[in-house]
Symmetry: C2
Subunit: 300 residues, 2 copies
């Protein structure tokens, strides 16, 4: 597909130029490549970043400025006909920090440029349609950063673990997802799929905190423990999803998330990186500036 | 309607207790009361606040913490069945700062708790229905802060000025709006309607800035000048809207907006005030905490 020339320029540097705090670009370090094994991937590190929580928080604030600027350019370009957009897919076990990503990474972006959708247990109406029906309706519009808090991947994760559909149907879904994501990419969507990776021990600590703090009780659900009991089944379902749905136009990133500060910083970088590669410039006016200036002054 | 007792407590102080920087509660100062005249209302003051831009920015950052805390309580209560929610309606002439309110006031709130809708020129499908059809579909869900960037009021503002509907239909709409808002209020919605009030001179300066800065060109539309030429007609249409649709359960506030920092601070306060009056406490667990704690520890 073509993009209006006015919103592109071919000279900007990419990778980590906006965020000098990375010692190494984390994107290739976190990307799922052939041979990736979730079981062998640590959840507690901070690849590409030297420093701890305090430095991480400072870096996140710096990155927030870069992200907000790039997002505004994306939005501006869309007003002049550019079709490009971002889709961030967030998947994780309970307590891994999806909500924190939304709050602390997306929270620094102008809300007008973010299309956030939290997918819950499907309704009866949604179940009466193909599993992608409700997803398609929420795909981000041009110029937006769409965020899926859970997604169509639930249909091959809990769907597989809980046998919510026949095995052949689960099998069919991997191909349907690939076709769907290829379609989104063709329409100008940069897809970034993130699995926040925590250890089973870290989850226990976080669930305990929810039980021990009255202001967190509302975040706990007894069903969370039922899912925890199937930890290994979920790990396997994630592995299969990575194997079957990683593609150059729709890569998976497995982000170590035992340190919340690192997970936020890494996801922020993946977005900055995706936007940077678009080489977004402010769009040129599609009206005569001098003429409009005169018209305005004539109104008094 | 009834709200679950667990989400209410009757002892908290309201008004400006969270925001010590107000010298006087701005809500009653800004509220449209019988006899209000837009034409006599200054757009350049900062009622209830002593200080300038710098103090205003500092105050906004303080208020952001209070707002974020209250919003999380509202959201938490809804998870346990509380039906309450907020609807902020933003109306204004072009450049008055609706976008800045969304970015700088709503931007400090967890995006998961905000339902933002920017109403554009109606589509053919929307025009084929009653003017409230598209509005109803976007009314905020329980626990959310809904924000309408433009709203059903466009249908009695531009609708009236541009004669987009017969005079009798415009007349009918005031009553339809009142009935609709009463219905929302009955369903647990606290409605806060804000008109950002700028002077005609201030608008000229802001439009000029958009024309003089290449990174702002995309925000300018030649149609903005056409609307500016009908400034007085719009002022009259706003006056009629205030006269016909101000109600105790759906008050209008006219916020002086020549100083952007003040407008943001004032709207932030109106939201804090609305939430404070709900006297939101963290909801009690609807499960046995000790029992779940044991279950969790048994999983290892």
């Amino acid at each position: 597909m073509e993009h209006p020339a006015r919103c592109r320029v071919a000279t900007r540097e990419v990778a980590v130029s906006h965020e000098p705090f990375w010692t190494e670009d984390p994107a290739p370090l976190l990307r799922v490549e052939p041979g990736f094994r979730l079981a062998d991937t640590p959840s507690s590190g901070h690849p590409g970043f030297v420093g701890g929580k305090r430095e991480g928080h400072r870096a996140l604030a710096q990155g927030a400025t870069a992200l907000a600027d790039l997002q505004e350019r994306l939005f501006a370009c869309s007003r002049l006909g550019d079709e490009r957009r971002i889709l961030l897919v967030l998947q994780a076990m309970d307590t891994a920090g999806k909500g924190g990503i939304v709050k602390h990474v997306m929270g620094s972006v102008d809300p007008q440029g973010v299309q956030l959708v939290a997918f819950k247990k499907p309704t009866d109406e949604e179940l009466a349609h193909d599993f992608l029906w409700r997803i398609r309706r929420e795909a981000p519009e041009a110029g937006m950063i769409g965020v899926f808090d859970r997604s169509h991947y639930e249909d091959v994760l809990i769907g597989r673990v809980r046998e919510l559909a026949p095995a052949e149907e689960i099998e069919r879904r991997y191909g349907a997802i690939n076709a769907f994501e290829a379609e989104l990419a063709d329409a100008g969507t940069t897809i970034v799929k993130v699995m926040l990776h925590i250890s089973r021990d870290e989850q226990r600590e976080r669930l305990l905190e929810r039980l021990d703090r009255p202001d967190k009780h509302w975040k706990f659900n007894p069903g969370d423990i039922d899912e925890r009991e199937r930890w290994n089944d979920y790990a396997e379902a994630y592995q299969v999803a990575f194997d079957r749905t990683s593609a150059p136009h729709a890569p998976w990133y497995v982000v170590p998330a035992d340190h919340k500060w690192y997970a936020r910083l890494a996801v922020q970088h993946l977005l900055i990186d995706a936007l940077d590669r678009m080489q977004l410039e402010w769009p040129a006016a599609d009206y005569d500036v001098a003429e409009q200036r005169e018209r305005l002054l004539a109104t008094g």
